[in-house]
Every structure is written in structure tokens, then in C-alpha cells.
């Protein structure tokens, strides 16, 4: 038996229901679907990328491929330096001191035992000469007017470390400069004058923590007396000296460059035995071989330097060791040396004196943390000689950054053109615009006269351009759609929308059939 006929009101009601479903689906659902699944490709100024390099060359006569990817400063090493070592070993030691790997630094010394070195990109070439001098146990370096570097070492024994130290001291300003401004990163885009933020002996750090250790041999303990060295009075005297030192540092020139200088309240004790030991955990910037070779000159056994009880969260920790040598060392006067990126060591003489020790520590801290432009009164530091070449280095680094930026932007344009399914969000366009703007600023400053400010701004803008270009290429929002092929999208949409569409279509079909029937019946009635 067929169901009773529907009333007109029921039919109208059903139409309203079906059409309200369709209204939400059509006016809300479909637009949302398109909006959320459309691949947004913001147009990029691809044509601009091609002209950037032309602007650099045409405007200023600088070809971006003039300079190699890495600044290789040729240094011809004379035979006097190669008595018991090789250029490769010296080069490795310098890298260890610099704390950088080859592929991270744009500045490296090309040590060659040939007198004539190939010069790239108008970089001056140097020659390294080593002179044995018995008068000083510490390596010293001098750079002459003719770009000859002389390193004074006490003997050929353990020379590679000392030669490396001398080379490092000669170029430390540039090493640190380019370590900070290499293609990989510039983390401070708004730097003031670069010189004020460079340090000779330690990588740049806002906060520095000083850790003091008393290194004592068991033999010494028996002679000095355990009670005297380990007594609370000694601790409080030590603490007083360290606090005084800290006050001097915090009120001095260093406070202009550091936001925080802290220190351990207590001195850590380490004991050295007479037997040879394996190296324990050391500070990451110091290799046991290096320190051991330095101490070898005093015929000391290798020591084990354990990590101190420093719990500071500072970005840089410097270790300072007050070493009380055993009696067998026969040291009449105190000795001290500074280890770049690590700290300093003061070896007590036959009459240990805390006051003079702290004064030495103060000088070591000053040497490690003071900026390059600070020159010592004794004139042993000749870094100012290299400053004019730094300008050239900065210009070269600027060009390298600009070349990197244009290569990256070109890669981006090729990527976007070859992958039509790759999304290009607005953030990428903003980064590209920022990169182009920085590029143009860098080129403008590059053309300016060479002075301490101009090339630094050019380098900063160039590095910023390279950074923005890299950020644009590696924007993660571009990858969203890359791993979702069209077929997979169908597989996702079908079960989501299918069950919704089936009743909608059925309802709409019924409405259409009813309206047709109504028209037919109306026509029949009219007839």
C-alpha cells in the first residue's frame, strides 16, 4: 500500500531543509575547501634576481665570481719553521686554536713551504719565519712592514704548537672577524662598529664565567702542608682576591663589552700525580695534546684537568689554573701563559704569592677578553698592522655574501619554476624582498669610501641578504604540499565528502523530481 500523499506544506518544508543543507555546503563548505587546499604561490620577482649580479658588476666593476668561496691567505712557511713539523700539522693546530672547522670558516691560512704563493683576489701574501730565542719560553710574534711574520720560539721541541700559537696571534683578529661574519651566520644584524665586538682570545660572548682551579701535586701537599693549602683561611683569602679581581674587571674597560662577568666562589682543587694519566674531560676548546705539549717544555707530566664545579649558565667559561708545581720542576720564578679560547695558567715559583697570581690572572683575562683594537703598552701585539688588510677582507667577504645571496635566490627561482605544486607563501616573498633590499644597501655601501664604518655596513647588509635568501629557500611552509600527490588528495577528500554528498544529492534529486511532477500536473490541469 503506498504511503499517503504528502501535504504541500511538507513538500515545502523538505525543500527548505534540503536547500539549507546545500546553502551551507555551497556558500561555506566549498569556499573553505578551495581556500584551505589551494596552493598559494605568491609571485616572486624572478627577473630581479638575474639583474642583481649585473648591477654589482655594471655599477661597480666587481664581478661576484672574482673571489673564491673561502678566503685563503697564503703564508709561505720558511724552512726554519719546519724542523720537526710540517705545514699540515701547523695548519691543524691553528684550526684547533681558532675553534672552527674548515668548512665553516671563510678564512683559512694556506700554509705552503713554497716561497711564492698564488694570490687570489688581491689578498696579500705572507711569509712565516721562525727564530729560536732562548730568552723567552713563550712564543712571540712580530709582523714586519713587508708582511713577514716572525715567530720567536724557545726551541724546536714542541714547536708546532708554538708556531701555531704565533700564527694564531698574528691573525686572530681576522679569524674571529670572519668566524663571526662568514656566510653561515651573522647573528647580530644591528652590530655597532665591528671592532668593538671582537675579542682576541675568546669567541664573542655576552656573559663570561671565570672558573679558578688550584692544581697541586701530591708532592707539593706534603711540603706545603695540607692544612695550609686546604684550610678555610686559604679559601677565604682566595675568595677575597678573586672578588677584588672581579670588581676590577666589572668596573674596568671590559664592562663595556660584557654584560656579565661571574666567577666561582670557591676554588676547585685538582691533584696531579706523578704518574702519567689519561686525559679526563676537558673544556671543549682545549685539546689535551695542545696543553700537554705546552707543559712539556717544563718537563712536566701530563695533567688531568677535570671539569670544575662551575654551574654557570654563561655562554663562555674561561678556566684559570693556579699551578703549584712539584719540587722537581725547579721553578724559581712564576710563569704564566694564556691559552686562547680556554683561559690561562699561572705556575707558581718557589714562593707562591696569591697577590701577584691575581695580577697575572687579571692580565690574562684582559688579554683574552679585550677587543682587538686595544693595544698593549709593551707593543708586543702588532695587530694594527693588519687592519688595513681587514678592509680588503671585509670587502671580499661582502662580495662573497652577495654572491651567495644571488646564487641562493637563483636556486629559489629555479625551484619555484620547476615545481608547480610547491607553495610560495607570503613569508617567502617578504624574505625575498628583504634580501633584495639588503643586497642593494650592501652594494651602495660597497661603493662608499673605504673607512672603518663603510665596509662594515656593506658586510652586514650583504650577510643579511645572504641570510634572508637562505631563509626564503628553506621556508618550511613551501614544503607542505610537496609530499601530497594529487592522487592522495583524492583519497583523502573522497571518504570525507562522499558520505556528505550522497544524501545531499539524493535530497536534491527528489526536490527536482517533485518540481517536475508539479509542473507536469499543472500543465495537465491547464489543459
Amino acid at each position: 500500500m503506498p504511503p499517503p500523499p504528502e501535504s504541500a506544506e511538507a513538500i515545502i518544508l523538505r525543500r527548505k531543509v534540503v536547500l539549507s543543507f546545500w546553502a551551507v555546503f555551497l556558500f561555506l563548505g566549498l569556499p573553505l575547501w578551495f581556500q584551505t587546499t589551494t596552493i598559494h604561490r605568491t609571485p616572486l620577482p624572478l627577473s630581479v634576481f638575474q639583474t642583481l649580479d649585473d648591477e654589482l658588476q655594471g655599477g661597480y666593476g666587481i664581478r661576484s665570481d672574482d673571489c673564491p668561496g673561502i678566503l685563503r691567505v697564503p703564508v709561505g712557511v720558511k724552512e726554519s719553521c719546519l724542523f720537526d713539523t710540517t705545514t699540515g700539522e701547523i695548519s691543524e693546530q691553528v684550526k684547533l686554536l681558532a675553534g672552527t672547522e674548515e668548512n665553516q670558516s671563510v678564512f683559512s691560512l694556506q700554509l705552503s713551504d713554497r716561497r711564492e704563493c698564488r694570490t687570489d683576489c688581491a689578498i696579500p701574501k705572507y711569509s712565516l719565519d721562525c727564530i729560536i730565542s732562548d730568552r723567552t719560553p713563550l712564543p712571540k710574534v712580530k709582523v714586519s712592514e713587508s708582511d713577514e711574520i716572525r715567530v720567536y720560539i724557545p726551541s724546536h721541541v714542541g714547536s708546532k704548537a708554538m708556531i701555531a700559537k704565533g700564527l694564531y696571534d698574528a691573525f686572530v683578529g681576522d679569524i674571529l672577524f670572519f668566524n663571526k661574519h662568514h656566510l653561515g651566520s651573522i647573528d647580530r644584524a644591528a652590530l655597532p662598529d665591528v671592532e668593538s665586538t671582537m675579542y682576541r682570545g675568546a669567541p664573542y660572548a655576552d656573559a663570561v664565567h671565570l672558573s679558578f682551579t688550584l692544581l697541586i701535586s701530591l708532592d707539593t701537599l706534603s711540603s706545603y702542608g695540607e692544612i695550609e693549602v686546604l684550610s678555610p683561611e686559604f679559601q677565604s683569602e682566595w675568595r677575597g682576591h678573586v672578588e677584588k679581581l672581579l670588581n676590577i674587571l666589572q668596573s674596568g674597560e671590559l664592562s663595556r663589552y660584557l654584560s656579565s662577568i661571574t666567577f666561582d666562589t670557591d676554588v676547585g682543587f685538582q691533584y696531579m700525580t706523578d704518574s702519567k694519566q689519561e686525559w679526563a674531560r676537558l673544556e671543549e676548546d682545549v685539546s689535551p695534546e695542545k696543553l700537554s705539549s705546552l707543559l712539556d717544555t717544563w718537563d712536566l707530566q701530563p695533567i688531568t684537568l677535570l671539569n670544575t664545579n662551575s654551574k654557570s649558565s654563561a655562554s663562555k667559561v674561561l678556566q684559570f689554573v693556579y699551578f703549584l708545581p712539584p719540587h722537581s720542576a725547579n721553578t724559581k720564578s712564576s710563569l704564566s701563559f694564556t691559552v686562547a679560547n680556554w683561559g690561562g695558567v699561572v705556575m707558581a715559583g718557589d714562593r707562591p704569592d696569591l697577590h701577584s697570581t691575581m695580577r697575572t690572572f687579571e692580565k690574562q683575562i684582559d688579554k683574552l677578553l679585550s677587543p682587538v683594537s686595544f693595544s698593549l703598552a709593551d707593543g708586543s701585539w702588532k695587530s694594527r698592522k693588519l687592519l688595513p688588510h681587514r678592509h680588503e677582507f671585509a670587502r671580499i667577504a661582502t662580495i662573497m655574501n652577495l654572491r651567495g645571496a644571488v646564487e641562493t635566490l637563483s636556486a629559489l627561482s629555479r625551484l619555484v619554476s620547476s615545481l608547480p605544486e610547491m607553495a610560495v607563501p607570503l613569508t617567502v616573498r617578504d624574505l625575498v624582498d628583504a634580501a633584495v633590499k639588503e643586497w642593494r644597501s650592501a652594494v651602495t655601501y660597497l661603493h662608499a669610501d673605504i673607512d672603518g664604518v663603510a665596509e662594515n655596513r656593506a658586510l652586514r647588509h650583504a650577510a643579511a641578504a645572504a641570510r634572508f635568501a637562505r631563509l626564503a629557500v628553506f621556508d618550511k611552509n613551501m614544503m607542505l604540499n610537496m609530499f601530497v600527490p594529487f592522487e592522495h588528495k583524492i583519497a583523502v577528500y573522497l571518504p570525507l565528502l562522499g558520505p556528505v554528498l550522497v544524501p545531499l544529492v539524493a535530497g536534491l534529486r527528489r526536490v527536482i523530481i517533485e518540481s517536475r511532477k508539479k509542473k507536469v500536473s499543472r500543465k495537465k490541469k491547464e489543459q
Binding site: 543543507f21 561555506l28 573553505l32 584551505t36 570525507l496 556528505v500
Partner: protein
């Protein structure tokens, strides 16, 4: 007074029962019909002693549970089935603390609830500590449940349902107050208790033609629980039921609602100093920012999908709960209370952060429609499905999270079962109501005797 007179007085509700009542029911109907005009303008009638006893017993139960098992609050508050990040009392406390020390409670992504709760609990804090087992909080939540039960009884006696076969007041009150889902939600101190109270209050006031109060209560309920905004279309039917359903009246109530909502939103702005709270409250709810397991269906999808599809699925899932509002309102335009109940049930399934208190509320609203029960076919089956899912859900969650011997599929399967049970209830009750309408309103409780 005959039923015909009732129909003449009340034009909004088509007579679902067009038969002769039994003598008791007829007398009750007559009494109600006689008082129809008066009830439109007078406060609600006093309840009978059974209802008062049920309310009193419920209050004693809640106080006893809080006193005897003080750790029950935190225990239940940790269960994802009972509370969610949108209704958690623990997060409300953290937000309240941040607010009291002068920080924005919406910083840090901890607090996602409406600012009005901060005001409420700050005010409550003046009378005592705001810990879950404190006296003032106990009283507040007990009062919220009691007032909800009172509103439900009032709705059952309202002219909108006067001519239908109703359960006794005390049964309706007991079904709500002693519902384990509601009790658990209350003990866990979920803020859904308070938002449900305002929603039911809005319904009650609308049934008694106190439309301004109803609009305000609905605005408060929407401010506290965003999904209540879906009830605006059926509420418009309720509000315009005693007047001509003209564009002017609809516009008037819409304008009132929007104004009240804007006022409440402004309170949030002045409290927090920025509109950031909208993103933390409604934004988190709508865009499902806090990905945590619950009794809903969303979290599992969003755990598994690629980021590319996330916006699409978010909008589609939200659209899924929205798309039923207008069609149900159209279809049940003569039964706005049933439409409200259906939409409450659908949002219970499809909202982003459901909890068992929503089911308790839906069941309590269903209890107002006694007349559809005889036509419901799958009551036992649906009840068993729901019961099984509610028993297994905490076990599977414990197995997954605490013991580590299960996985997300366990709890998600149970949420699917729970949703199926709810879907059966919604479709079955809706079908029953439409069947009664189709049959011309014949009372299905009337037995058929074959001679």
C-alpha cells in the same frame, strides 16, 4: 476546560496528542491550560514535595561525596572523559591565579575558558578558598545543579510542553541530579556545569515568555560555551512564538542577543586588556589548538594527518556540527524544544572537546519528551553501547597513558563506539518525534487491544 481551548490559547505548539486523556491527565492538562495565561507572566509554580526531596537528596549526595572523598575532585578532574582543557577546574585555578597577580591568564596557553568564569570565581574567592573541595565551591556547584534541575522541571510544566505526556517533576529532577554522568561532572568541578545551567535557564525563561532574560542567559551560555550559539535559530522560534513571527521581531531578538554577546566579549577585553583572549578561548576551541585525547573524534584525526590538510579538516569538522542547525530548525519549526534538544545532541557528538557531562545534559533534556519514548526502537541497544563505552573508556586510557601497554587506538575505538551510541539515540528520538507527527499526534502510549 477542554483541550480545544488550550489549542486556541496556545497557537505555537501543534497538538501532538489529539486524543482524550485519562481522567488524571485531563485534569492536569486542564489545570495547566487554565493557568496558561497566568503562567506566562508569573514566576514558576512551586514544586511538590517529591521534587524538593529529590533536590535535597542530591544536595546531600554532593556534599557527602565532597566531604567523604576529598580526593575525588582531583581524581575525576584528571580524567579526560569527565573534563577537557576547555572546562578543567585546575586550569581555571591557574588562570585565576594569573589574573589575580596581574598577568593575563591567556598567556602561556594554559587557560582557555571564558573571562566570565574568572569574575565568578574571583567573587567566590571572597567567601573562602577556591579549592575544589572548599565549602564555597561546593555550594556553588551544588546550587548550579539544583537550579538546572529546577529549570528542567519548569520547562516540563511550561505551556510549550503542557499538552504532552510528561514525566513527573521529581522524576525529571532525579534523572538529572542522580545521573552518574552529571554527578561525576559536578564533582570534577567542570565549568560545563555552570554553562549548562545558563543554557537550561535560557530555555526555561523562553518557555515562559521571559524573552529578555532568555536572551541574556543564552548570551552568557554562548560566552561560556561557544557551541551554544548554534541554538540561536531554534531559540528565535521560541522567542517569537507568542508574537507574530515577523522580520522585525526576529531582528529585535537577534540584535538583543548580539548586543548581549558583545557586552560580554567587552568584559573580557577590559579584564585582560586585549582581544587576545578570543584567540585563546574561541580560537582554541574552533581551531582545536590543544591536541589532547577526549571523548570526541577530533584528536585522533589531527594526531595523524599532515599539516597540509589540517586547516581543511578543522573547517570541515566545525562545519559538520553547523550544517544541521538550520535544517533541524526548519524541520522541527513547530517543536523548537525538540530542535534544541537535537542540536544539543549533535553538538555533543561533533564538538571538538566533548565530555560526558554533555551526554548527561542531553539525556536530561530528552526526559522532557516522555511522549516519544514508546516510539523509540533502539533504546536498550543504545544504552548498552553507551554504557560499555563509558566503562571501557577510562580503562583503555589508563592502559595507554599510565601502563603503556595500549595505544591511542584503544581509546579512539571506544570514542567511536560512544559516538555510535549517541548517534543511535539522536536519530532514534528524532525519528520517533517525526513519526508521532506523521501519525497525526496519536498517543503511542495508548494501548491497542485486539478484540
Amino acid at each position: 476546560m477542554q483541550i480545544r481551548s488550550c489549542r486556541e490559547i496556545d497557537n505555537i505548539t501543534l497538538s501532538l496528542v489529539d486524543i482524550t486523556y485519562t481522567s488524571n491527565q485531563q485534569a492536569r492538562c486542564s489545570q495547566t491550560c487554565y493557568d496558561t495565561r497566568l503562567n506566562y507572566h508569573r514566576p514558576l509554580a512551586l514544586m511538590d514535595w517529591r521534587t524538593c526531596a529529590a533536590i535535597f537528596a542530591a544536595a546531600i549526595l554532593r556534599q557527602s561525596l565532597s566531604f567523604l572523598f576529598p580526593s575525588l575532585h582531583s581524581l575525576l578532574g584528571q580524567h579526560v572523559e569527565v573534563t577537557t582543557t576547555m572546562t578543567s577546574f585546575k586550569q581555571m585555578k591557574e588562570g585565576l591565579h594569573l589574573y589575580e597577580i596581574g598577568l593575563s591568564p591567556y598567556n602561556g596557553g594554559v587557560y582557555h575558558q571564558a573571562p566570565i568564569f574568572l569574575l565568578l570565581f574571583k567573587f567566590a574567592g571572597k567567601f573562602g578558598p577556591t579549592s575544589p573541595d572548599s565549602f564555597i565551591i561546593n555550594v556553588l556547584y551544588t546550587f548550579a545543579d539544583i537550579i538546572t534541575a529546577y529549570f528542567l522541571c519548569a520547562i516540563s510544566k511550561s505551556p510549550k510542553l503542557a499538552k504532552t505526556n510528561q514525566l513527573a517533576d521529581w522524576v525529571i529532577a532525579a534523572l538529572y541530579l542522580f545521573n552518574p554522568l552529571v554527578v561525576a561532572t559536578n564533582i570534577s568541578r567542570s565549568t560545563a556545569v555552570l554553562s549548562n545551567a545558563t543554557m537550561v535557564g535560557s530555555i526555561a525563561y523562553a518557555c515562559y515568555n521571559k524573552n529578555i532574560l532568555s536572551v541574556i542567559f543564552l548570551a552568557v551560555a554562548s560566552h561560556a560555551n561557544f557551541y551554544t550559539i548554534y541554538l540561536v535559530p531554534p531559540f528565535l522560534l521560541l522567542w517569537t512564538s507568542t508574537t507574530n513571527t515577523s522580520t522585525a521581531s526576529v531582528t529585535k531578538y537577534l540584535f538583543l542577543y548580539i548586543t548581549a554577546s558583545a557586552g560580554l566579549a567587552s568584559i573580557g577585553y577590559f579584564m585582560t586588556g586585549s582581544w587576545q583572549y578570543l584567540s585563546a578561548t574561541y580560537g582554541s576551541l574552533l581551531f582545536f589548538k590543544d591536541l589532547v585525547p577526549n571523548m570526541g573524534l577530533w584528536w585522533y584525526f589531527f594526531m595523524e594527518m599532515f599539516d597540509f590538510f589540517r586547516p581543511l579538516f578543522t573547517y570541515i569538522f566545525q562545519l559538520y556540527s553547523l550544517i544541521y542547525v538550520l535544517p533541524i530548525t526548519f524541520r522541527l519549526h513547530n517543536y523548537p524544544l525538540m530542535a534544541i534538544t537535537c542540536i544539543v545532541g549533535i553538538t555533543t557528538i561533533s564538538k571538538s572537546y566533548p565530555e560526558i557531562g554533555d551526554l548527561g545534559m542531553y539525556i536530561s533534556l530528552l526526559s522532557l519528551f516522555r511522549f516519544i519514548f514508546p516510539n523509540v526502537r533502539y533504546a536498550l541497544f543504545a544504552a548498552l553501547v553507551i554504557l560499555h563505552s563509558l566503562v571501557l573508556a577510562p580503562n583503555f586510557y589508563h592502559l595507554w597513558i599510565y601502563l603503556g601497554s595500549g595505544n591511542a587506538n584503544f581509546i579512539y575505538a571506544i570514542t567511536l563506539v560512544y559516538t555510535i551510541g549517541l548517534t543511535i539515540i539522536i536519530t532514534d528520538t528524532l525519528r520517533a518525534a517525526l513519526r508521532i507527527e506523521f501519525d497525526g499526534g496519536a498517543d503511542p502510549s495508548k494501548s491497542v487491544i485486539q478484540i
